[in-house]
């Protein structure tokens, strides 16, 4: 029995969205149900995905389920920081595959403006190992900056190559009405921007955002009744690496992504060369370059060259993040994985408009939580 994504939805991603978390989720949920032969009552379970340190509401799953009309069906919260909604999709897949439920909604959200900037700043310090690394004043950009520095040293990757990832992101952001930053940026602007954590500068980093996403999954039999364009979940991989930097054995790639990719390719009987379009977790420009390598789109160390040669643009060897990626869309933590899956599903349904990769059959989503802490790779096929 196969499992399908039958519906995808997303709010625009923005700063200070001005609505409550339940309203954000409703908007994504409604968007996902549009054109489906499915009512909320037929959804047998919901999985709400959020990084709860940004929520004022304690245990938001119950509140969201109520607002979406999903009582009395079971609900709960899934969390793996920035990859929470990929984790939610994996759980939904297991529910359906096991026969426990036929239709499951995965709703990811984050309203990062729910708490003050000072509170955000305080939480940033606690994303690392709080006993041994946070006391030195570390935070997310520093973690990826250390990967960038090591990558540059080992492979000769340049700051220009990092910047070129953002130039691509800016170009495609203009075609994504739901992106927070819809603006093309030049290589010069990227290189001249203020330093956040060397060698990463402002345009090498994604920004916090408010937003929600919704992915509806169903069993094969049910999927065919709900939609004419089901997209099949062919491979799901997940892994985790050490939380501590000192525990890492790989400083120029993410072991959790390599492992999750291996699992997903094997399960889907697919090779990197078979992937027609991909969404990767570009929370920082270096993260996209490492993703190219970790997913096998190029050899280790050749990620810089791949973007340099524009091979990840539409028309290149493997189009990547052609919705603008996290770098332009913004990164509402719990919603991001669902947004990535939505982009790929629309591609495989031939509904991607101006960014449509013609004839795309196989798509891949790479969604990472923390600095290479939680790795999730999902392979979808039309």
């Amino acid at each position: 029995m196969k499992v399908a994504v039958v519906g995808v939805g997303q709010t625009p991603f923005s700063r200070n969205c001005g609505v409550s978390i339940r309203e954000l989720c409703f908007e994504a949920f409604k968007d996902a149900l549009e054109d489906l032969n499915l009512t909320p009552k037929e959804i047998e379970a919901s999985i709400i995905c959020s990084a709860p340190e940004y929520d004022r509401q304690r245990s938001p799953a119950g509140l969201i389920a109520e607002y979406l009309g999903l009582n009395p069906q079971p609900t709960f919260l899934a969390e793996s920081i920035c990859s929470s909604s990929s984790t939610g999709v994996k759980i939904a897949y297991s529910f359906i595959k096991s026969g426990l439920h036929d239709t499951v909604a995965v709703i990811g959200f984050q309203k990062m403006s729910e708490i003050s900037s000072a509170e955000v700043q305080e939480r940033m310090g606690r994303g690392a190992d709080i006993q041994w690394e946070s006391p030195f004043g570390t935070m997310m950009p520093a973690g990826y900056a250390m990967c960038a520095r090591a990558h540059m040293q080992k492979y000769g990757t340049t700051e220009e190559q990092l910047a070129k990832v953002k130039v691509k992101s800016g170009k495609y952001s203009l075609l994504n009405p739901k992106a927070m930053y819809r603006r093309a940026v030049t290589l010069e602007e990227c290189l001249k921007a203020r330093v956040i954590a060397s060698p990463l500068k402002m345009f090498d980093c994604c920004a916090n955002a408010d937003g929600a996403s919704c992915i509806i999954l169903a069993s094969e039999e049910k999927a065919k009744k709900i939609t004419d364009t089901p997209v099949w979940v062919e491979g799901i991989g997940a892994a985790c690496d050490t939380q501590s930097t000192t525990g890492r054995t790989n400083l120029t790639g993410l072991n959790c992504a390599i492992e999750a990719g291996k699992q997903a390719y094997q399960m889907a009987h697919t090779m990197p060369k078979d992937v027609d379009v991909a969404e990767v977790h570009d929370c920082f420009t270096i993260a996209e370059i490492m993703a190219y390598e970790n997913l096998g789109f190029c050899k280790p160390g050749e990620g810089g060259k791949l973007i340099e040669e524009s091979q990840t643009y539409i028309g290149g060897k493997i189009p990547v993040n052609i919705d603008g990626g996290l770098l332009s869309k913004g990164h509402p933590i719990g919603a991001t994985g669902g947004s990535q899956i939505r982009t790929i599903v629309l591609q495989l349904q031939e509904k991607a408009g101006k960014t449509q990769v013609s004839g795309a059959e196989v798509g891949l989503v790479h969604n990472i939580g923390g600095v290479g802490l939680y790795g999730n790779v999902t392979i979808l096929r039309r």
Binding site: P135, F136, G137, L251
Partner: protein, 140 residues
């Protein structure tokens, strides 16, 4: 290894209780100590009282020489709450001769332009204001 206060560790300590709180006492005596599993011989840094390889809690303290080589680094220009006054500062990861890795800041006297990956460093205790203590990398 008793549960003592760990709250003096670092510029900001986010936890106060741990079975390896003696680490701070050793640090105050000028030593960077860590733990090794008596059963399987695995050395850990930072120290821990539980070995996940064989589920043993039979660990012994051992001093690190402090000799290490720089693996990677970054100069932070933004900081979490409580660390802004220190900016900019250099966070680094180094490989210690005992085979473990250490994460700390580079000493303020090291300029970014003299940093080279692979350079020799020495992991050293560092006293902070208000009776706090940590460790940092100094030029070897």
């Amino acid at each position: 290894m008793t549960s003592l206060s760990f709250e003096k560790f670092g510029k900001i300590a986010y936890i106060s209780e741990t079975k390896v709180a003696d680490f701070v006492k050793h640090l105050e005596q000028g030593k960077i100590m860590t733990t090794r599993c008596r059963r399987c011989g695995q050395i850990y840094f930072p120290p821990r009282t539980d070995c996940p390889r064989d589920l043993s809690t039979d660990m012994k303290w051992e001093e690190l020489s402090g000799r290490c080589k720089l693996l990677t680094y970054t100069t932070a220009h933004f900081a979490p709450t409580g660390f802004q006054d220190d900016l900019p500062y250099i966070l680094a990861l180094a490989h210690c001769e005992e085979g473990v890795k250490a994460y700390a800041r580079l000493n303020k006297d090291i300029n970014e332009n003299e940093i080279q990956i692979g350079m020799n460093l020495r992991l050293t205790p560092l006293r902070l204001p208000n009776g706090r203590i940590t460790y940092e990398f100094k030029k070897a």
